[in-house]
C-alpha cells in the first residue's frame, strides 16, 4: 500500500535544481535521465507582481501504478511494505513500456545502461532511516517526506497560518 508522500512547499521553493542534481549524484547517473526535476513555469505578471511556479516532478508512487501493470518482465515493482515503486535493473530489458504507460513522465531513460531509472524515494536511504536525497539537501527545506497524512496536516497548518489575521493593528 502506498504509504509515503513527498510534499513540496512551493512558497519556499526557489527553483534552484539542487534536488535534481543531488538525485543524479546519489544515483551516479549520466547526463540525460532526471528521476526528479524542477520545471519553471512563468514568470508572468499576476496582480501587478511577477509570479512563477517551480514545479517539483518526482514519481508519485501511485497506489495503482500503471507502469508496474505495463512492465512485461516484472522489473517495475511496487514494494509490498510501503508501496514504493521501483525498477529492478536486473530484470529491465529496456523495452520502454513503462515510459509509455506513465502519464507523468516519471520513468527516465538511462542511455548508459539502456534501461529505465526512476525515483524510488531512495529506498535504500529510507530503509537506513534517512530521507530521500532531494529532501535532505533541498536548499530551502521546501521538500518534505513522510506519511501522506502527516504531509496533508503540514499543508493545512501552513494555510491556516497564512490566512489567520492575528497581526497587530497599527494605529498610524
Amino acid at each position: 500500500m502506498s504509504k509515503y508522500y513527498l510534499f513540496q512547499d512551493s512558497k519556499k521553493c526557489i527553483g534552484c535544481h539542487s534536488c535534481e542534481i543531488q538525485c543524479k549524484t546519489n544515483k551516479a547517473l549520466p547526463v540525460g535521465p532526471k528521476p526528479c526535476q524542477i520545471i519553471h513555469v512563468g514568470p508572468k505578471m499576476i496582480g501587478g507582481l511577477p509570479r512563477a511556479s517551480y514545479v517539483f516532478m518526482p514519481c508519485f508512487h501511485c497506489e495503482n501504478p500503471w507502469c508496474v501493470a505495463a512492465c512485461p518482465t516484472g522489473a517495475m515493482q511496487q514494494r509490498a511494505k510501503d508501496g514504493i515503486v521501483f525498477v529492478d535493473h536486473n530484470l529491465c530489458v529496456g523495452c520502454k513500456t513503462c515510459v509509455s504507460a506513465c502519464p507523468w513522465g516519471a520513468p527516465q531513460w538511462n542511455p548508459e545502461t539502456g534501461k529505465v531509472v526512476k525515483c524510488d524515494y531512495c529506498m535504500d536511504r529510507i530503509d537506513a532511516g534517512l530521507k530521500p536525497a532531494c529532501v535532505t539537501v533541498c536548499t530551502t527545506h521546501c521538500l518534505h517526506f513522510g506519511k501522506v497524512e502527516e504531509m496533508t496536516q503540514m499543508r493545512r497548518e501552513r494555510h491556516a497560518r497564512s490566512v489567520a489575521a492575528l497581526e497587530e493593528v497599527n494605529p498610524s
Binding site: 519556499k12 526557489i14 527553483g15 534552484c16 535544481h17 539542487s18 535534481e20 542534481i21 543531488q22 543524479k24 549524484t25 546519489n26 547526463v31 540525460g32 512563468g42 514568470p43 505578471m45 507582481l49 511577477p50 509570479r51 512563477a52 517551480y54 535532505t136 539537501v137 533541498c138 536548499t139 530551502t140 527545506h141 497581526e167 497599527n170 498610524s172
Partner: protein, 694 residues
C-alpha cells in the same frame, strides 16, 4: 571502509560547511553540515554537483606545458618536477632582471590567500590582487567611508528583519545557502521583501513589491528616499543625533531630489517612493537596505553603495537586531585568531602597486584586494613599471576583467603566464604552464576565521586522495618558492603541518574540528551597545555621511546626480547577472550543471524585439565598441526596454572543456574596461550594445 568528514564546500567562494561521506576511498555523498544553523543538510545546486567536479575527466589531470602558440591549445604533459623547475627558472630570470615587482599574482580570495601574499612579499612584489575588487571594490570603499569597516566585516541579520530591500541583489538565485534560509525565515515570520531590478528574477517572484527600475538609476531612487525620510522626519532621530556626522549637509544636498524628480529618472512612481520610505520607517530599526554582494555596475558605484548604507544608518539599523551588524572576532571573546604566514618579517617593498592603489592616483581602494581591472592597462602602458609574469591562481582575467580582447593583448606582452587551476579555464588555456590544483574534496586547507555575531573557526579537510596528479595550492606556491630561493617563508611540509602551525596559541587543535567541523569561541551573539558602545572606526568615531576618507582624498561626499541617458535605435544597456547553477566562469563545464544550463541567452524586451524583427529563440548579433558575438534571444516583457541581459561567464574558449566550449557569449568580450575611479569597482553595466537579427 566508510568515514564521515566535515569540511567546507568550494563550488563558489561562500565556503558553506559540508559533511562528506567517503566509502572505499570514493566520495559517495555530500550534504550541508547538519550542525550549522541555516545549513542543516542543505546544499545549493553547485554544492550538489561537487562530486560531478571530482570525477570530471575534463579537468586538468597533470601539469601541462604549452608547446604551440598561446591559446592554440597544444600541450604536453609534464611531471611536477619539470613543470615546477620550468616555472622556477623562468621566474628567477624575470626577478633577477626586472625585480620581484614585475611579478603579479591574481586570485579568488581563498583560505590560503595568506600563502599567496607571502609568496609575493618574499620576492618584494606588492602586486597581489584578488577577484574581490572586480566584484565589490566600491562596496568595500563605501563601507569604509561611512563606518571605517570593510563590507567583509559587516553582516546582516536577515532572520530578524521586518523589511528587506534588495537592489538587484538576487538573493534567491545568486545563492548563499545560509542567507537564503535566513531570508526565507524572515518571510515566514511575516517580513516584507522589496526587490528592485530592471529584470524579473526568481527573487522578484518571491517579493511583495517589485520595481522594474530604469537601469543605472538606483542612486536617483535613493536620493529621493532620503529626501522623503529627512523631510518627513522618518529617521531614528536619537540614533542619528548620537552617531551620525553630516546629517545637515545631507539634508541640504537632497533637498532638490524630490520623489517627483526621481519618478522621471527611474520610472518608479513618486507616491510609491514615499510609501516605501514610510513603511521602512515603521519597521525601523529592524530593516535592511541591502548594500549588495556584487557592486560593480556604474562609474559612480561608490555613491550608490554609500546611499544604501546611509539609508540603513538613518533607520538606526546599523548594529541592530534585524539590521546590519559588525562581525565580531575572537578578541571579543578573549580568544586569538589563527596565525597567518603574512605575520613573518619580509624584506621592505619600495615600489607602488601595479594598480597604483594607495598612491594619489588611486588613493581609496583597499590594498588588501587591489584593483584587478587595472592589470591590462598596467601591462600595456608599463606604468608604473613593466610587468613580466602573471600567476593566475583560480582567477580568470579573460572572463572576469572587461574587454577580453584588450586583456589578451596585454597578456601577450608577458614573458610568463602560470595558471594554478582545477579546470581548463580560459586563462589556463592561454597560459604557458598549468599547475593543476586538487579539488576541495582532495585537500586540507588553511583555517577559516569565521567572524560574526558568534566568532568561530571552520576547517576544510581532505576527504579523499587526489584522483589525478594534482596538488594543494599552498603547496604548489611553496614548491615554486623553494626554486627561487624563498622557501624559508613556507615553514611546513604539508597542509596538516600548516594548519597546526596556524592553530598554535588559539587554544584549539585540529582534532577539535572533528566533532562538528567547526569550533566556537563563545556561545552568545555579541551586539555592541547602541546607546554608547558603537565603535565606528572612522576618524570622528561616527558614521560619516560627510566622509573624511573621501574629502581628504579630494573627493566629494555628495556629488550632484548625473542623469542616465537612454540608449535608442537598436542600442541597449548590457546588464549581467547570475543564476543558481553557475559560479562566475568556473562551473560552466561541470557535467550536471552544464546539463541544466549550458549556454546563456540574451533577454530583450518584447516591444523592442518586435521593432528589430527578433523572435524568441532567434540568434541575434550583439556588438559593443570592443567586441561582438552571436547569442540566442529570449524575448520577454520581464526586462526593462532600455536593457538587455545575459548570464555572466559563458562563451568559453578552452577546447578541452568541451561541454562549455563556444557555448553562448562571454559578457567580458563585450564589456568596456571602465570603472569607478574612486571606489575601485569595474562598471560592468556602462557598456551600450547594438543588437540585430543575425
Amino acid at each position: 571502509m566508510e568515514k564521515e568528514v566535515y569540511s567546507l564546500c568550494f563550488m563558489c567562494s561562500i565556503r558553506c560547511p559540508i559533511k562528506v561521506l567517503v566509502k572505499d576511498g570514493q566520495v559517495k555523498w555530500i550534504e550541508g553540515n547538519p550542525h550549522v544553523a541555516g545549513m542543516e543538510g542543505s546544499l545549493c545546486p553547485r554544492g550538489a554537483a561537487g562530486i560531478s567536479l571530482l570525477y570530471d575527466d575534463q579537468r586538468v589531470q597533470s601539469p601541462m606545458i604549452r608547446v604551440g602558440e598561446r591559446g592554440e591549445g597544444k600541450w604536453r604533459k609534464a611531471s611536477w618536477e619539470e613543470a615546477l623547475d620550468l616555472v622556477g627558472s623562468k621566474l628567477k630570470e624575470i626577478i633577477d632582471e626586472h625585480g620581484g615587482h614585475s611579478v603579479v599574482l591574481g586570485e579568488r580570495t581563498q583560505l590560503a590567500t595568506h600563502a599567496s601574499k607571502t609568496f609575493l612579499k618574499a620576492i618584494k612584489s606588492p602586486n597581489h590582487f584578488t577577484h574581490d575588487a572586480l566584484c565589490k571594490g566600491s562596496v568595500n570603499t563605501a563601507c569604509r567611508s561611512l563606518f571605517g569597516y570593510t563590507d567583509g566585516q559587516m553582516g546582516m541579520q536577515y532572520n530578524k528583519a521586518k523589511h528587506i530591500v534588495l537592489y538587484g541583489r538576487n538573493i534567491f538565485e545568486a545563492v548563499s545557502v545560509k542567507e537564503v534560509n535566513n531570508v526565507m525565515q524572515a518571510l515566514e515570520n511575516g517580513a516584507k521583501l522589496t526587490y528592485i531590478d530592471p529584470r524579473v528574477t526568481v527573487t522578484a517572484t518571491k517579493a511583495h513589491r517589485y520595481w522594474m527600475i530604469r537601469p543605472g538609476t538606483d542612486l536617483a531612487l535613493n536620493y529621493a528616499l532620503i529626501h522623503v525620510i529627512l523631510k518627513e522626519r522618518l529617521y531614528d532621530a536619537e540614533y542619528v543625533d548620537r552617531w551620525v556626522a553630516g546629517i545637515s549637509e545631507l539634508q541640504d544636498f537632497v533637498s532638490s531630489y524630490t520623489p517627483e524628480w526621481a519618478e522621471k529618472e527611474t520610472g518608479i512612481g513618486a507616491d510609491e517612493i514615499v510609501t516605501l520610505a514610510r513603511e521602512m520607517s515603521k519597521d525601523k530599526p529592524s530593516v535592511i537596505f541591502h548594500f549588495g554582494y556584487r557592486g560593480a555596475n556604474n562609474t559612480n558605484e561608490i555613491y550608490l553603495r554609500r546611499s544604501i548604507m546611509i539609508l540603513n544608518s538613518l533607520m538606526g539599523s546599523v548594529e541592530a537586531p534585524g539590521g546590519f551588524f559588525f562581525k565580531k572576532g575572537p578578541g571579543e571573546e578573549g580568544g586569538k585568531p589563527a596565525r597567518k604566514l603574512t605575520e613573518q618579517k619580509f624584506p621592505k617593498i619600495s615600489v607602488p602597486r601595479f594598480d597604483k592603489v594607495g598612491t594619489p592616483d588611486f588613493p581609496l581602494p583597499d590594498p588588501n584586494h587591489g584593483v584587478g581591472q587595472m592589470l591590462p592597462f598596467a601591462i600595456l602602458s608599463e606604468d608604473p613599471y613593466p610587468l613580466k609574469a602573471l600567476i593566475a591562481y583560480r582567477f580568470d582575467p579573460l572572463g572576469s576583467i572587461a574587454d577580453t580582447n584588450q586583456t589578451k593583448k596585454a597578456l601577450d606582452k608577458l614573458d610568463l603566464i602560470v595558471a594554478i587551476d582545477i579546470n581548463y579555464s580560459d586563462i589556463a588555456w592561454y597560459a604557458d604552464v598549468i599547475l593543476p590544483e586538487s579539488t576541495y574534496l582532495e585537500r586540507t586547507d588553511c583555517v577559516q576565521q569565521a567572524n560574526g555575531l558568534k566568532p568561530q573557526m571552520f576547517l576544510r579537510r581532505q576527504a579523499v586522495e587526489p584522483r589525478y596528479d594534482t596538488r594543494d595550492g599552498a603547496m604548489i606556491l611553496k614548491q615554486i618558492a623553494e626554486r627561487i630561493g624563498t622557501g624559508n617563508f613556507f615553514p611546513y611540509e604539508n597542509m596538516d603541518e600548516l594548519v597546526r602551525w596556524q592553530l598554535e596559541g588559539t587554544g584549539f587543535s585540529m582534532e577539535d574540528f572533528e566533532a562538528k567541523g567547526f569550533v566556537a569561541y563563545g556561545k552568545k551573539q555579541i551586539f555592541m551597545d547602541r546607546r554608547d558602545g558603537l565603535k565606528f572606526k572612522t576618524p570622528s568615531g561616527k558614521i560619516e555621511f560627510k566622509s573624511s576618507l573621501l574629502e581628504d582624498a579630494g573627493f566629494e561626499s555628495f556629488p550632484v546626480y548625473e542623469p542616465v541617458t537612454a540608449p535608442s535605435g537598436g542600442k541597449f544597456r548590457l546588464v549581467v547577472g547570475r543564476n543558481a547553477l553557475h559560479t562566475h566562469v568556473s562551473t560552466q563545464n561541470n557535467p550536471y550543471l552544464n546539463e541544466i544550463c549550458s549556454e546563456n541567452e540574451l533577454w530583450i524586451n518584447t516591444e523592442k524585439a518586435a521593432e528589430l524583427g527578433i523572435n524568441n529563440g532567434d540568434p541575434v548579433a550583439i556588438s559593443s565598441p570592443v567586441g561582438s558575438g552571436e547569442i540566442k534571444a529570449k524575448v520577454t516583457d520581464l526586462i526593462h526596454p532600455e536593457a538587455v541581459f545575459m548570464l555572466h561567464g559563458f562563451g568559453h574558449e578552452a577546447k578541452k572543456a568541451s561541454r562549455s566550449y563556444n557555448k553562448g557569449v562571454s559578457d567580458s568580450v563585450l564589456q568596456e574596461n571602465v570603472y569607478d575611479k574612486i571606489g575601485g569597482s569595474p562598471a560592468y553595466h556602462e557598456t551600450i550594445v547594438t543588437v540585430k537579427a543575425a
